[in-house]
């Protein structure tokens, strides 16, 4: 075998292995979605979406879990978005290259790597016990807000960084102050990208179960939470609860609830991808 032929074969081999590797992930994703849909789709019905949980799998539904997830989603957004965007503005526009900026940066990188369950422990001690919020929606929302905060800060900073300095300089030249420039020029220009990043971060929050379990979200909720101080459950916890039961009916219920959860999470991801695509096409500096 000639040297050149061998080199060619090796090249093809690495290419094939790479192709196979890339497709393992895709195949797995397809297998996961298809098998769960096949198991759960027949169980999905209006009744399932609007019923309370029950001891009997065929009567049980996910109404309180859906409402709880929605509340948690809104609550997390309410706390995480203003805080995260403000912190990003400070780091990107005000505190360039100071020691504080350096410390903040290392700290945020570290926080992004802290496991979500540790945030649950933090929420349990600070919000549930010390601030006496109880095992409420607000304690859960605050916990998840702290969890997604580093991610929101990172994406918002990237969006702000993408705004060219010529925009800022033009505003300054017209006599605008720093804050006027940021508020009227930089933020609107970065808005699309910030929104994309925030939606992705919140999509992650809606799928979280571990930190909320530690905070004390319930696994059986036969009522609809009406105020932020009420106890609650969320879809992922409802799914976890059903998976751990022996009856096959609950396994099917879990599959149906997963379909709902996936539609929510993948739907949010889809919106984010669409927004990114649109803002990439539209914006030309």
């Amino acid at each position: 075998m000639s040297k050149r032929w061998r080199a060619y074969l090796l090249d093809r081999l690495v290419g094939m292995l790479g192709l196979a590797a890339a497709f393992i992930g895709l195949l797995f994703l397809v297998a996961l979605i298809v098998s769960i849909f096949k198991l759960g789709i027949a169980r999905l019905s209006w009744d399932f979406l609007t019923s309370f949980p029950s001891r009997f799998p065929e009567k049980a539904g996910i109404y309180p879990a859906i409402v709880g997830s929605l509340w948690i989603f809104l609550g997390t957004a309410f706390f995480a978005i203003p805080l995260g965007v403000s912190a990003a503005i400070y780091l990107e526009e005000y505190a360039k290259k100071s020691w504080l900026a350096n410390v903040l940066e290392i700290n945020i990188a570290n926080l992004a790597g802290v496991p979500s369950i540790i945030y649950g422990i933090l929420g349990l001690e600070i919000f549930v016990r010390t601030l006496q919020m109880g095992q409420s929606l607000i304690a859960g929302s605050l916990t998840l807000a702290l969890l997604v905060l580093p991610v929101v800060i990172v994406v918002a900073r990237e969006a702000l960084r993408a705004v060219p300095s010529s925009i800022r300089e033009a505003a300054y030249a017209l006599g605008a102050t720093k804050w006027q420039t940021i508020w009227k020029q930089v933020l609107p220009a970065a808005f699309g990208n910030i929104l994309t990043g925030i939606i992705l971060a919140l999509a992650r929050a809606i799928g979280e179960a571990a930190p909320l379990i530690v905070v004390g979200a319930l696994t059986y909720v036969p009522f609809i939470p009406r105020s932020p101080m009420d106890e609650f459950t969320v879809l992922p916890i409802q799914i976890f609860n059903w998976v751990s039961r022996p009856q096959h009916g609950f396994v099917i219920n879990a599959a149906a609830a997963i379909i709902v959860l996936l539609v929510l999470v993948l739907g949010l991801n889809g919106i984010a991808i669409f927004l990114r695509y649109r803002s990439q096409r539209k914006v030309r500096w």
Partner: protein, 293 residues
């Protein structure tokens, strides 16, 4: 006057939000340390680190963290063994072989792997992957480390493939062209020039994936079992550090009791591991950035 006042107020308000992130870290450390100190007043550190049994919820109490650590180690090792070769090969494929069009399709779909909620992976591991594996491996228990380990590995593929691809992409063209100019083939260039040059970026991606796998909770809580066991056998039920925290949170352990404090001690161990890993990743990553900018 008013203008300057507004400017000042806004800036301090923004600074406050940024500083809040430090408060989060301080909060985590403070909560973990205070409760962990309380815990070690009743349990000796020596017992915690060397006892081979973890049974805080039983009458006969043992507080050895080793069985939980072995569970976490086992699932993490399996996950990395799956994710590293697949992720790296994917990065190579996307960077070297795939057409820009194929790349622009495959990459976002792979990213979806890390967007799917982990309860969903746990469910898939327990209900589909474990029974499938039992066809091949007859001795496999219903709860085991193997199945959630594999599924977790696939979940963290995008962590490795994405960052490794960025690292490969960041290698300057001149290096590649120099290799080609000396008559190296594509594969030779890849393995002897590009991968070594991108090694710190690749390493950072692996460290990040490792931190993610150690802290992963729902997959192992659903599919790996709740039996702390000092073993490296991937076929039997085990319990990870994270699963233990979930297990205690689901039960009704009274606040302030020793059993309650065990979750803080376990959380402390978890936190220390991930902080060390993120710090390594941060500095490795920073070095790799400086090299090529």
């Amino acid at each position: 006057m008013l203008r300057r006042f507004i400017e000042r107020t806004v800036e301090s308000g923004l600074r406050l939000s940024a500083v809040l992130t430090i408060a989060t870290t301080i909060g985590i450390v403070a909560v973990l340390i205070t409760e962990t100190i309380q815990f070690f007043r009743e349990v000796s550190i020596w017992e915690f680190l060397t006892d081979t049994q973890w049974t805080p919820l039983f009458a006969q109490k043992h507080f050895g963290i080793l069985p939980l650590l072995s569970g976490t180690f086992l699932t993490t090792a399996i996950a990395i063994a799956v994710a590293l070769p697949i992720g790296l090969l994917t990065a190579i494929f996307l960077n070297e072989y795939a057409s820009p069009r194929l790349r622009s399709i495959v990459k976002p779909i792979l990213e979806l792997l890390s967007a799917i909620p982990t309860v969903v992976y746990g469910y898939f591991a327990l209900v589909f992957v474990t029974p499938a594996l039992q066809q091949i491996i007859p001795g496999l228990a219903g709860f085991n480390a193997l199945s959630p380990g594999i599924v977790m590995g696939i979940m963290i593929i995008p962590f490795i493939s994405s960052l490794s691809e960025d690292a490969l992409h960041a290698v300057p063209r001149s290096l590649r062209e120099a290799a080609y100019g000396m008559g190296a083939t594509r594969v030779q260039t890849l393995f002897r020039v590009l991968i070594p040059a991108a090694s710190s970026g690749i390493l950072a991606s692996v460290v990040l994936a490792l931190a993610r796998a150690i802290g992963e909770t729902m997959i192992v809580a659903i599919a790996a079992g709740q039996q702390p066991r000092l073993t490296l056998n991937p076929l039997v039920p085990i319990e990870t550090v994270t699963t233990y925290i979930v297990q205690v949170s689901l039960g009704d352990v009274p606040h302030g009791s020793l059993e309650y404090r065990t979750i803080f001690a376990a959380g402390m161990v978890l936190f220390l591991f991930t902080v060390v890993l993120s710090t390594i990743s941060f500095f490795v990553n920073r070095r790799f950035r400086q090299q090529y900018e």
